[in-house]
Symmetry: C2
Subunit: 207 residues, 2 copies
DNA sequence: CCTGTTCCATAACGGTCGGTATATAATATG
DNA sequence: CATATTATATACCGACCGTTATGGAACAGG
């Protein structure tokens, strides 16, 4: 039996080519979800921002929920990069400062929605958006876990005092970060947030 | 001209008496708004929990928005009493501890919704709920202002170090509190939140 | 050209939203 | 009893929700 030839690998598009860029449309969808939250973003909001019709959206992304998960992937990848870079800072204080200043940069940036997309979409959500909420909480727990390990290492290295609980310190750092995004969403100025960060670092435990 | 007699002062009810207790109905409405947020609470959710019909609700409370403002009044009065009591603590550390432990008590209480009603209702809201959001932000700013003054007094009294900015410290304490309510909403246990508070207090500046 | 396939545009689906018109029931007053 | 007033119950309003059926347009391969 003869082996079939491998079909065109790059783009064996058989039918009518789509008239929009999937990546650009997803970036627009991200912007809408970030501004309005999952429930607050209507399909009309999304299609108008993405410049496509509803059938095109459903064909390309599945449905609203699948679109959100993809947008959240993009958000984590592009906007939350600082949370991974922070872990590589040499000292625990450096980690905290990277986290907090990175959080202010991302969640109070000019020309972008203020606040945290995940928090906005998960704090209050309709029953049918429960999977959205669960996804956000799961991702947050994963990220938080990495920070706990980083602070445990810091304590072992004598980088933070022995009487400080790494899990408590992690919860605290996340709480401050969440507060920053909440206050950014409420319209706090960059100066206010930077003073918040400065004060946080002034209280940070010295080894 | 003769003076008219004063009408029955207690309850000069002329028509059919209402069959429900306004205060109890409002308390049920508060519970629904606290659980689901302003946008997430539908009129059906509200009327079912309150045990009344929609026309009764509109006759007694105006509309959904007016009902929310009244529920928020009740919430502040009954649940946020700790924020006022905190200010009367003798030391800045006492104020902070009262704030944080009070926040955990209220926002992670058994048998009540977890999280902060104001935050849940204001973080992401539809365009027509913008007045809700503005109300929450205004009340928060007012409460925050009182805390700034308390910490300014504390610094003047040498209760907190001179190099600590009272406004920054206030923003920080609020951020931690907001983070507590966010994590409570996400399902954090009381033990986790208490460790967060313990760690916060461990870092609190000593005079 | 013809067929198959994929995409786009329009319009519509059932369902829910906040809010209300209508009619009836229950009280006070005369 | 008659009337005025207020509350209740039912049913409905237009608008919007997420989703999809339908029909035509744009491409590839034969």
């Amino acid at each position: 039996m003869e082996q079939e030839v491998i079909p065109a690998p790059a783009a064996a598009q058989k039918g009518r080519p789509r008239e929009f860029c999937v990546d650009k449309a997803l970036a627009e969808a991200l912007h809408v979800f970030w501004s309005k939250g999952y429930d607050g973003a209507s399909m009309t909001d999304l299609t108008e921002a993405m410049g496509i019709t509803k059938p095109s959206l459903y064909a390309a992304f599945g449905n609203k929920e699948a679109l959100f998960h993809k947008a959240l992937d993009l958000y984590e990848q592009e906007k939350l990069e600082y949370t991974r870079a922070a872990l590589e800072q040499p000292t625990a204080r450096g980690v905290a400062e990277y986290y907090l200043r990175g959080g202010v940069d991302v969640h109070a940036a000019e020309g972008e929605p203020h606040g945290c997309m995940g928090l906005i979409s998960s704090l209050a959500c309709s029953p049918e958006a429960e999977s959205i909420r669960a996804d956000v909480i799961r991702r947050r727990a994963s990220s938080q876990h990495a920070l706990v390990e980083r602070f445990e290492r810091a304590r072992a290295e004598g980088d933070i005092p022995a009487h400080i609980d790494p899990e408590g310190l992690t919860s605290l750092l996340y709480a401050i970060l969440q507060g920053i995004t909440v206050q950014a969403d409420a319209g706090a100025s960059r100066e206010e947030l930077e003073r918040l960060v400065d004060t946080s670092l002034a209280l940070w435990p010295s080894a």
